[in-house]
Symmetry: D2
Subunit: 155 residues, 4 copies
């Protein structure tokens, strides 16, 4: 009678970042895509940035939670420095320019609800990343490196 | 090389409630399950309640948005009445007892983020509905009525 | 000892759209801002569009839920028509061009998680609306019309 | 003319856990409340559990994201172990019994959308924690210890 999917509850799963490759990002930085939700647009990523690096100014239409895993960083627009173990909460609609602080490489865990919209000096959007573009970069990287991608959209 | 799902963007879809059955709920009421997200737990339902009806007191761990499609209703704990065309916003952690107001049947559209936890007089949880139980009730109803269920968990 | 806010639970509240003005939007359309969450970026709006009207192509970084209150409409990119009583679910990252269908004015209720990004023919973002710009338009309209605005960011 | 709040955009802020106290939890464990959103119910907490400890079985009506900061742990119901640097994603409606693995203390960062509902052997809910109860425990702890609480609900 029924050809629809039966009621199936998804279970908690553990993501081990060691199983996922670092993917070049903006030349000097790298990211790992840990999870992407194609329905809500949420992404969970790791970002690795060398000491002495500034990343492009960007805008977030949705919320962002950042956990600083290693090193120290700040937004040029704010007066705080986030160091290893700190958590940054970004309400929807925030805009900022990240830079690493100090001599250590920076690694952050980022839970992003929508997109990162990269802006030029006039505030115009010149590039954008979201679950789809991160996933495409991951697949492209795997194809180029001969790696079998994990399905990070699976729950 | 790759055995993982390619990058696939889900598109907007229209849900026509006429395609879905009214399912008995608490004897006198009925609901239609329009959409259920097994990852986030969000459900979109219609609820139909006869005039002169009070539903059990319940608690919501997450947020709720209600659009009143038809009739008027209120929570016994609040001093407002929601009438057709109004929107009710319920922050996470709200608790209340709904009842229909006036002589007209009430229909509401409900966007619920987590569960409805039904409480006894001592505030103890005696029953709970969420995406999973609503979906089970929908499948059970379809099986009993000989209806082929639609996959309301598909995006 | 404590100078921080005590634990305070927000209660469910009813929003009556009759208490809020229609604000001109893209010349021919109008919107009402019912609720805006400055932390998550979620907005709840009503949109009113005359028969025979096409609105600009736009992209949504986050999810959208639309309830069709009156009339019929479609996205030019999709093969369905949404009529009064239907619900449209838009996963994050959807892009489309709305137009009213038939001879009747269209009114929709829209629950938007992030922004609407209006695109030109090359897919470049030329304008954007979110909780902040809708709220600014509401305040500007109130100032121009001599209306006292309601605080739609209050929960 | 206007007595409503002007349009005000919240900015990103950094939370330094060193500024917040460890609060006793289930006797042997401790938590820090880093952020609580009284509208959405989202909480961000740190949880510290000694080696060789099992915590009570609980159910989550909403989603949970866990980042393992230190040590290793597992759910007795699952076949994976989460170690420092791993991320656990829990879809809405998951149920499990956490225990620390190995000889090291465990610290996790937890982003929880709704509640933790503690269950007895019959699956009945016997206790519950959410933004409100965590916030109350934080304020109670501050009062008992003579600490001035920070407003963790502020964005």
């Amino acid at each position: 009678m029924s050809n629809a999917k039966a009621v199936e509850v998804y279970d908690a799963s553990n993501i081990c970042p060691d199983d996922l490759p670092w993917i070049p990002y903006f030349g000097v930085a790298h990211f790992k895509l840990l999870k992407a939700n194609p329905v809500t647009g949420q992404t969970i990523t790791l970002l690795k940035v060398p000491a002495g690096t500034q990343l492009p100014t960007h805008f977030h239409p949705g919320t962002v939670i950042v956990y600083t895993v290693k090193g120290s960083w700040r937004y040029m627009e704010n007066d705080w420095v986030s160091k290893a173990g700190d958590v940054v909460y970004e309400p929807a609609g925030s805009k900022h320019t990240p830079e690493s602080v100090g001599d250590e490489e920076v690694i952050t865990l980022n839970i992003v609800e929508a997109t990162l919209d990269y802006l030029n000096e006039n505030g115009e959007i010149i590039a954008r990343d979201n679950w789809e573009s991160f996933l495409q970069k991951y697949h492209d990287h795997c194809a180029a490196e001969g790696i079998s991608p994990i399905d990070v959209t699976k729950f």
